[in-house]
């Protein structure tokens, strides 16, 4: 519907901003803490885990799950705000 043109631009912009923010966290936790900074983080221990190793083989996966549900919730709110959610 053409009356939605302005709204749909704003809606899409907000969606993209959300996706970008989630991707930043996603990247920092997996590629950042799990790979790029892993050697540095390994000097810290959590229990018997070197921290970089923990992020790589445990932590990143828990964070991935959290990210998907947080994203699903937030984008649901955006859908409602712009009234584009399903009936």
């Amino acid at each position: 519907m053409s009356t939605h043109t302005h709204d749909s631009v704003a809606y899409w912009k907000e969606c993209l901003a959300l996706i970008r923010n989630v991707l930043i966290v996603w990247f920092l936790c997996s590629y950042g803490a799990g790979i790029l900074f892993a050697p540095a983080l390994n000097s810290v221990s959590v229990g018997g885990y070197p921290l970089g190793f923990w992020f790589a083989q445990q932590g990143s996966m828990y964070i991935f799950i959290a990210l998907i549900f947080i994203y699903a919730k937030l984008i649901g709110n955006i859908d409602k705000k712009y009234d584009v959610h399903e009936d």
């Binding site: 749909s8 809606y11 899409w12 969606c15 996706i19 989630v22 991707l23 996603w26 997996s30 590629y31 799990g34 790979i35 790029l36 892993a38 050697p39 390994n42 221990s45 959590v46 229990g47 018997g48 885990y49 070197p50 190793f53 923990w54 790589a56 083989q57 445990q58 990143s60 996966m61 828990y62 991935f64 799950i65 990210l67 998907i68 549900f69 994203y71 699903a72 984008i75 649901g76 859908d79 712009y82 009234d83 584009v84 959610h85 399903e86 009936d87």
Partner: protein, 600 residues
């Protein structure tokens, strides 16, 4: 009851369960065959996706490879889970809104040409077939141990069973069957892990046990393991990069975007009722997958520890143990029963290189002179890494019912994914290729028949190549992911996020992406993985010649090429038609989503 009888009983019972469910939910028309009528609850869909996802590569092979590479095995863990975040945010909801139920039909419509769909089908077939080769490798391992036959015989028997299994029901049968399979395989994976974690650390939760101290000491399990493997000449477990940091990075990326580009996974998200459900379904799938994936590093570390402790008794308990002292290795003739059982399959071999009758299992590429000084003449125990998970409960001397359960889980994992993939292949050939392109008038019956014939052919090809696999099961599967990453993922992304991407750009991108990836992989592994046809010589003969990136990881580079070529070609060719841009606009909002059009 003996181990063998018990294994037959447990495997038999689980199979009776799957077949019972398949008969109960037997599919009727073609639309039900493929997409289960679009009405599966997100949690159930998540479990089924989990079973579909966690194949022989995840269940049988992955922990063994993590055990081998230590920290380097991270690529599989992050790579095969992180992609779900991409899937949930970037693809699943939009593809669900689009309302087509295969990836190629999305390409045909979005890129307004049958050519784009055909290229999509070809890429999909190449990736899926490679994937099945990996599965057949795993099926071979599982069946050879289960039946006590050679690996090759195991593969032949597995081929027959996979075929009957996949032809029997459609997705609907498979969806409910896969929920049952998920339950079996997750029990089979976690129960032995709990036992072993409890034995080694006193903590029953493997995820915590891996970070705990060895039972009765104040030495952390991981630092003990670091010490054990370095004593034997291997690289330090917790810090050993796979190749280089760059390679680890690219490998992980390749698996992640491959996850988001693999058709049999994406297909799952066409079967949920709404766009909203498509988003959360990916989350549920990941919850069920992560139960196995966070257990796997514990299984890997603990199985590696137990294996070294079997060969070098005392290396774990005794703080002052000298691995080099004469007589510290076990005598071959006194080896435990599980080694004998695996020797039958040919996947575990002992060669007494220095003739002392004892087993020296160490890294013979190590530069450390202490090994030669002690008269060690090379590694004498070759353990195929694909057997580690199945052998794990035997190595740890767990009760027979646990070993039987793991065999059932391994078979469930291998069969469920092979069936899901075969379905993706048969729908690609019968629906996307034959019905939409070659013979539009084909009857529904003819379409189903074509689907079954293509399943049979793919099993034969995969079985043949599975006899001489390009890599361990998980490695072969990683190549399949690379192929999907380099072709399908970028085309999907650009189809949704770029309103201006046109058909010429998309087609050129896919061809360039998968082309360059296949070139790199085949140079290392042989043309279509046929041994002896490697052509690394053309590139100077050095393996991993492109910045040290191994072929299994090259998909991410292929994806970059795909994007670059696509945008370059797009700028040189006719712009996308107005109605297509409008269509993309429409896909971006959830409102007005319809049930998947079952009548094609």
């Amino acid at each position: 009851m003996g181990l063998q009888a018990l294994t037959y009983l447990v495997v038999g019972l689980t199979f009776a369960l799957y077949i019972g469910i398949a008969i109960w939910a037997r599919a009727g028309s073609t639309s039900e065959f493929y997409a289960a009528g679009g009405s599966v609850h997100p949690v159930l869909n998540g479990m089924a996706t989990g079973a579909d996802w966690m194949s022989a590569a995840s269940f049988i092979s992955m922990a063994g490879l993590i055990g081998l590479f230590g920290y380097g095995g991270t690529v599989f863990l992050m790579g095969w889970t992180g992609g779900y975040v991409l899937l949930a945010m970037l693809l699943a909801p939009y593809l669900r809104k689009f309302g087509k139920f295969t990836v190629p039909s999305f390409f045909s419509a979005r890129y307004y040409s049958k050519g784009a769909g055909t290229v999509g089908v070809v890429c999909l077939l190449i990736a899926s077939l490679t994937y099945i080769i990996g599965q057949m490798t795993g099926v071979g391992v599982a069946f050879s141990r289960f039946l006590g036959v050679s690996n090759a015989t195991g593969i032949f028997i597995g081929m027959g069973i996979v075929f009957m299994y996949a032809v029997f029901g459609g997705m609907k049968g498979i969806t409910y069957t896969q929920v049952a399979q998920y339950c079996v395989l997750i029990l089979a994976y976690t129960v032995p892990a709990i036992f072993i974690s409890l034995n080694l650390t006193g903590n029953p939760i493997p995820q915590l046990g891996l970070g705990s101290d060895m039972a009765g000491t104040d030495v952390a399990l991981l630092s003990k393991l670091d010490q054990v493997v370095t004593d034997l000449g291997f690289a330090q477990y917790t810090t050993n990069f796979r190749g280089s940091m760059l390679n680890t990075f690219v490998y992980t990326l390749s698996l992640m975007i491959g996850t988001a580009g693999l058709p049999h996974v994406i297909m799952r998200f066409f079967t949920v009722p709404t766009v909203k459900d498509a988003r959360s379904s990916a989350g549920w799938a990941l919850v069920f997958i992560a139960i196995l994936y966070t257990t796997a590093p514990a299984v890997a570390a603990m199985a590696t520890m137990n294996l070294h402790a079997t060969v070098n008794p005392g290396i774990v308990q005794d703080a002052n143990f000298d691995v080099m002292a004469p007589g510290s290795q076990i005598v071959y003739d006194e080896r435990p029963a599980w080694m004998k059982r695996w020797e039958v399959t040919g996947l575990l071999k002992f060669t007494d290189k220095n003739g002392d009758g004892r087993i020296q299992h160490y890294n013979d590429k190590s530069k450390d002179p202490k090994f030669a000084a002690a008269g060690w003449a090379g590694n004498e125990l070759s353990v195929n890494k694909d057997i580690m998970v199945l052998a794990n409960p035997e190595i740890a001397l767990l009760p027979n019912w646990v070993i039987a359960l793991v065999a059932a889980g391994g078979l469930a994992a291998a069969l469920s994914t092979a069936a899901g993939l075969l379905l993706a292949i048969s729908s690609a050939i019968s629906h996307d290729l034959i019905k939409e392109k070659l013979m539009p008038d084909i009857s529904e019956k003819g379409e189903l028949m074509a689907g079954k014939i293509s399943m049979a052919c793919s099993i034969c090809v995969a079985g043949y190549l599975g006899l001489n696999p390009p890599d361990f099961a998980a490695g072969t599967v990683a190549i399949a992911f690379g192929l999907a990453a380099s072709s399908i993922f970028p085309a999907l992304m650009m189809g949704i996020f770029s309103k201006t991407m046109n058909k010429e750009g998309a087609i050129a991108g896919m061809l360039a992406g998968i082309g360059v990836t296949m070139l790199y992989v085949f140079a290392h592994k042989g043309i279509f993985f046929i041994k002896g046809t490697e052509f690394l010589g053309l590139f100077g003969g050095k393996s991993s010649f492109f910045f040290g990136i191994e072929p299994n990881a090259f998909g991410a580079v292929g994806a970059v090429v795909n994007f670059a070529v696509a945008f370059a070609v797009k700028n040189m060719t006719t712009p996308v038609p107005e109605n297509i841009a409008q269509m993309v606009e429409d896909v971006r909002i959830p409102k007005g989503s319809k049930a998947v059009d079952g009548a094609h």
